[in-house]
């Protein structure tokens, strides 16, 4: 399709306006984090960037967030995915209720979940332990609509009934059918789902902040109160890290999958 001059002008003016709006704050972060404070107001300093690695509590928070992300992924792999396959295979009557259950989080904002879970959380941290498992449990429910979407799309594309029958005929047990046969065939859907899980856990603030759990974001906010430059540097670094990661992973359809939520 050939583009006329008018269309081109429209296109580039839109791009430049939006790009300006989106990129100026990012550039400002770079500018701010390399600004020398005090009387020396010329030149650039990377001292804020150099101290990122020395922030003890930040490193702890990153580890904590990554552990939480790992638990969320384990929950998806060993609980949500098998159940989705199981329902699809054997419980056709539960398919609709299961879908509805998975879509409930769309109607419940994170702040509302906190209100609902607060008494339970308090009970668990007093009587059991203050481990990331509770947090991971809430997170895995929060991303359920997204996980469900990418899973059901993947499951619809394969005839899992035939696969399951063939596998059982050849002597496979049910766990072998689910974990050895069906899960590898819907790998893409599972990977997409896990990717969303990691993104959510690393970016989550609301729940962990109110429940007093020092995750990555909560600690960045804390650092921001004492040392703005370091906080800005950390934010920009993690942003660039994810961006590069996204550009390097060759996956054409991912952008569609991240928000392919559809309750109709």
């Amino acid at each position: 399709m050939k583009q006329t001059l008018g269309v081109k002008i429209w296109r580039w003016s839109i791009i430049s306006i939006v790009a300006f709006y989106l990129l100026v704050p990012l550039y400002a972060m770079l500018d701010f984090s390399t600004k020398p404070f005090g009387f020396a107001d010329t030149g650039r300093t990377f001292s804020a960037w150099a101290t990122i690695g020395k922030q003890e509590d930040l490193l702890q928070a990153v580890t904590r967030s990554l552990i939480t992300a790992a638990i969320v992924m384990a929950l998806i792999l060993f609980l949500v995915v098998p159940t989705a396959i199981w329902v699809q295979l054997k419980l056709p009557l539960l398919r609709r209720p299961f879908e509805l259950l998975c879509l409930i989080p769309l109607a419940i904002p994170a702040i509302v979940i906190v209100v609902g879970i607060a008494p339970l959380y308090r009970w668990i941290s007093i009587n059991l332990s203050e481990s990331p498992i509770t947090l991971a449990g809430v997170y895995s429910m929060l991303i359920l609509p997204y996980t469900y979407r990418s899973l059901s799309a993947a499951l619809d594309a394969v005839d899992i009934h035939t696969l399951a029958e063939a596998a059982t005929t050849l002597g496979a047990g049910i766990s072998r059918v689910i974990f050895g046969i069906i899960m590898p065939t819907i790998k893409t859907g599972i990977i997409n789902g896990s990717f969303i899980a990691i993104a959510l856990v690393l970016g989550e603030f609301t729940i962990s902040n109110i429940l007093n759990f020092k995750t990555f974001q909560v600690v960045i906010a804390q650092i921001g109160r004492t040392n703005g430059q370091v906080a800005v540097a950390v934010s920009l670094a993690s942003l660039l890290f994810v961006l590069v990661l996204l550009l390097l992973i060759p996956n054409k359809k991912r952008h569609g999958a991240i928000l392919d939520v559809d309750i109709a």
């Binding site: 296109r11 709006y21 989106l22 400002a28 098998p82 702040i111 766990s175 109110i210 942003l239």
Partner: protein
């Protein structure tokens, strides 16, 4: 734990040798997930909804519901939340939609396409702590634009960072993650537009604007409205950004909920938090129902991949 569960039911039904192994015991396989979601999803939801009709001592009453409904602070926060969400949903949908169009008319799989999509997926998740820092680095004290403005336009609002903490400031911040979200939601729709329609319009002598006025916009309206509703919900439920920028206040409903829940000065009021949450859920449910209705029209032409 789940694995054992599956094995148990699997071997039991495997013995019968039936083709579909459908039996009552198959329902046991769904039990672990049901228990889990019961604890972490259904219980909190029920807790909020039932709690809205109770007072702080667990006695059923609608007093709290009424007092929050009539409270001027709660009403103000609620209307602020709705106003902010509508504003940012509309602006975000228009700018993001136009940007998505600009992306879709470019070369697919090209560098610009790749970078814009990747950047959109990152920035759509950007709300919260990092977003606030980015804008403080831009418009706050010692920020890029502020420094620039104080030197060249000292009389404009840009030379004073206080506007960031107002409704308009919040709207500018929220739009920052609404635009990329719109791109993510709307780009697939634009890519599903059939090139044949464009060709047919061109062949019949239709101009660029005629195609958009008579074909493009009418076809895209339901998807656009649906996407705008998603943006509305996204902004309405957002808590992190506002809470970091304007700490503990009653400006928006999510902030008021957090205040009611965590207030350390002895004013903690879980019942109020539940009532406010209940009202929030009602709004979100209405928006999502509208979304579902709108999407029903969309699926008539848009082939889902």
């Amino acid at each position: 734990m789940t694995q054992i569960q599956y094995k148990g039911t699997g071997s039991a039904s495997g013995r019968t040798g039936s083709r579909y192994w459908r039996s009552k015991s198959a329902y046991l396989g769904a039990l672990p997930f049901l228990l889990f979601s019961g604890i972490f999803l259904l219980y909190p939801t029920w807790n909020v909804i039932s709690g809205a009709f109770k007072d702080n001592y667990g006695v059923t009453s609608t007093a709290q519901l009424k007092s929050v409904f009539n409270s001027p602070i709660a009403r103000g926060a609620f209307s602020n939340s709705i106003e902010l969400s509508i504003k940012t949903a509309i602006v975000g949908a228009i700018l993001g939609g136009l940007f998505a169009w600009a992306i879709s008319t470019g070369k697919q799989g090209g560098m610009f396409y790749k970078i814009s999509v990747a950047l959109s997926s990152v920035l759509a998740q950007f709300g919260g702590v990092m977003l606030v820092f980015a804008f403080l680095a831009t418009f706050g004290f010692n920020g890029l634009v502020l420094t620039f403005a104080t030197r060249f336009f000292p009389s404009t609002f840009l030379s004073d960072p206080s506007w960031l903490y107002s409704m308009n400031g919040l709207a500018v911040l929220y739009t920052f993650f609404q635009i990329p979200l719109m791109v993510l939601v709307f780009l697939p729709t634009l890519e599903n537009l059939k090139p044949q329609w464009r060709e047919a319009s061109d062949a019949l002598g239709g101009k660029f604007y005629e195609y958009w006025l008579r074909v493009g916009i009418p076809i895209l309206t339901p998807s656009f409205a649906g996407a705008a509703l998603l943006l509305f919900v996204n902004s309405f439920s957002a808590y992190a950004t506002a809470s970091i920028l304007i700490n503990l206040s009653d400006f928006l409903t999510p902030l008021q909920i957090a205040t009611a829940l965590t207030s350390e000065t002895g004013g903690s009021n879980p019942a109020e938090a539940k009532v406010l949450s209940f009202f929030m859920v009602i709004v979100v449910v209405i928006a999502m129902t509208l979304y579902a209705l709108v999407r029903r029209n969309v699926s008539k032409w848009e082939q889902r991949r």
